[in-house]
Symmetry: C2
Subunit: 525 residues, 2 copies
Amino acid sequence: MDNNIKITYPSSEKVYMSGKLYPQLRVGMRKVRLTPTVDIVDGKKVVTENAPVYVYDTSGPYSDPEVEIDLRRGLPKLRSPWIAKRKPGDTQMALAKRGVITEEMEYVAIRENMNCAELGIDTHITPEFVRQEVAAGRAVIPANINHPEAEPMVIGTNFLVKINTNIGNSATTSGIEEEVEKAVWSCKWGGDTLMDLSTGDNIHETREWILRNCPVPVGTVPMYQAFEKVDGKAEDLTWEIFRDTLLEQCEQGVDYFTIHCGIRLKNVPLSQGRLTGMVSRGGSIISKWCMVHQQESFLYSHFDDICDICAKYDVAISLGDGLRPGSIHDANDAAQFAELDTMGELVERAWAKNVQAFIEGPGHVPMQKIRANMDRQIEKCHGAPFYTLGPLVTDIAPGYDHITSAIGASMIGWYGTAMLCYVTPKEHLALPEKDDVRTGVVTYKIAAHAADIAKGHPGATIRDNALSKARYEFRWKDQFNLALDPERALEYYKTSNDVEGRYCTMCGPNFCAARISHSLKDCDQ
Amino acid sequence: MDNNIKITYPSSEKVYMSGKLYPQLRVGMRKVRLTPTVDIVDGKKVVTENAPVYVYDTSGPYSDPEVEIDLRRGLPKLRSPWIAKRKPGDTQMALAKRGVITEEMEYVAIRENMNCAELGIDTHITPEFVRQEVAAGRAVIPANINHPEAEPMVIGTNFLVKINTNIGNSATTSGIEEEVEKAVWSCKWGGDTLMDLSTGDNIHETREWILRNCPVPVGTVPMYQAFEKVDGKAEDLTWEIFRDTLLEQCEQGVDYFTIHCGIRLKNVPLSQGRLTGMVSRGGSIISKWCMVHQQESFLYSHFDDICDICAKYDVAISLGDGLRPGSIHDANDAAQFAELDTMGELVERAWAKNVQAFIEGPGHVPMQKIRANMDRQIEKCHGAPFYTLGPLVTDIAPGYDHITSAIGASMIGWYGTAMLCYVTPKEHLALPEKDDVRTGVVTYKIAAHAADIAKGHPGATIRDNALSKARYEFRWKDQFNLALDPERALEYYKTSNDVEGRYCTMCGPNFCAARISHSLKDCDQ
């Protein structure tokens, strides 16, 4: 393994902003330098500077040339001094409810706003606003006290839409090195959180390597490890085995757990009339347990115990949707909505114990049924953040499901979903490889950003406008450097362009609309 | 050049349906054969057949093993006997208004419905309904009397959403052979119409090869060829040069013309305050002419003459949006909407001369502004079909603009747009190559299909349901064969799967949700 991975972006530098409440905070951002605009006015060259653009940066210390990376040692423990001061039970939510603005809260407020203040752009996102949102359960800052390497980030409908990346091996594929590489790769392209969904060998060790080297919050589905412990026999699972797995992962530093607590014994049969039954791994495992034992799931009956464990470490609970539809045919059915309603009940119990929580959502949903999902989630789950997989708006495009799902993701993000779980081109077909992670992350950055624009997030269009200005002025490199994937844009451009200058091979010199459009100025009466 | 190109699809056969009004009609479809479902019930193997799925087929004679293809000779002239009977002025619209149901109208009615009748699915699409829609201007059947090789298809909000593919060389790239290959390739993946946007050498000859070998309607932007005739000097253009170009292309068989008749002298300056001015090639050329001469454009002042020419050949007019926004910043501005309103005026003048017409739309539009485009188009353009490019919902993803635009395209398709102009991954960067055409077409098939589902088109979900059933039953090959791109799905699957059977490497045998979900049946009480 290359122990000194670095992340670089073209014409960019790593900059830090400090806090006001906590002046020692250093919130990393990426500053993209632009070239000036050059005009010819009355035969004279007029040069106008273009302001740099600040970009939300998930790459952590990997993109800071001052930080020496050593994967064997792990990343610097950014949050350790903040955590050291805290008392047992001091979750972000508990502190927020007591009126305390934590370092994490100011950090995310700065991070969300970028340099809007400098640009004179109004923003509703103050540290106090973050505190209120966390206190009310409308926002989550996943921050296990044992994962001090992670940079704080916030998940909530009144903030930038976030994206999650799934990685992880299965019994038949992929090793630790490859998974760590994918984790860093995800951070490079813009993944906000990372789920390690490993189900194969070395679950613990793989997770350890990822956690110690991951600058973003890490989530897991603890049931996967518990299930390994019982050799894949659902009926042999017990609360004790599950509890011990939770404790092990809390100790390691996992920031949020997907747990399918919303599956009720009475609701499992609702999935039997479906076209595609149950497609959630965690959901199907616990459903099997319920059916074999004809008992309410221990995830449901021990929910308060789960919360007590999570509160101790400030691990957030992501209420998994085990009954999510696996096909557009099954969307918005009784099974799906029964579970959603149960999750609405559970989220209030989590909050009562100061555990941060969010709600997972589908899945496969045709466009005309997406809004109903969001509306029902808001109604039944009391404003808890929604975290959706896609949804995929058609089932007929395996190989392109990053696209079928990005369509639904953009829409549900606009409607209010706080975090989007990415889908790669390999969905339904194989585990994602490194390039699939890149494609999946960039595709979901598009969906999230489109939603931010539609929601009117402060400053959301700064980058679009700077890129479009560069495009119109033939500042090709600026255009690429501002792109979500500068490398791919440049690579495609180079396939047929060897010209530098005021036209390209798409149109040739005569047919360039931008060129002709510029020349209209000279015709003005 | 390979003169005997064939198109094949796995486990598929070419079938034909005949008409009732016109029994000699042979409407081609693709029939996908499926394998049976095999269950074990009480230890016994139970085999249940799965009905084949009929798929809308744009591949024409290329996928019929009975037809011998020879590119030098061109495709069979399907429509010649129908056209032979007609009198001057007998456009589809003129006939529709007179109450005549043409062969083309029955053909498209059958094509839209596939085998819904056999499946007992109600449909509103009868030959008489098609006639009414064409008569009212709400639907267009582009069908130049000199392009008898094209199979009839219909563009209208009450029909399946269609997609258009742009190909064509520029002064600096690509030859005739490559363009013909791209044309056939587009038809293979599902392109409903094809625009030849060549601007380089051999415009006439390239178009001839494409027209004679294209089973779908072909569109052009005649201004490109006119502009070549004046060596790229906009001010030297004249009505006569443009008229002669139209006549030449009508004679050749072009089915629809994009003409930027909606640009008014008074509206050109509205583009000057924009971030990205004018990004339409045709629009910028005619605007330049207007500004230099300080005259109303000859495309506008000679609009009735244009209609007279088009009526003679039954060429449809696609009113081009020269003032479409080239960035989300410029979306829905005064320039764009002024032109849209002018197009609404022109479309009624086209209809008065029995010329079929549709309206082109943007471009770059953030999600929250898409609906206003559709609503205004419906209001101002009297129900004429809308034909949009994307729209792209963010500007920051060059290299991925097939995705940024598919998001907008799906939404506007749902809201009522009749045809979507595809965008490839090379948009803004280079001319598309063959694989970009494939990616662009499949991406837009996704958008169009998602819109069909959302609009409730009869039978739209048949393919989704069959594919999802195959997926849930581990009928991998059926799943791939039903996919929009069977080859890519299989290729991805093969990257890590060498197992045939009831699980795959994504989860391994123990973690397969579908497997566990199936096993729940045995737990039922």
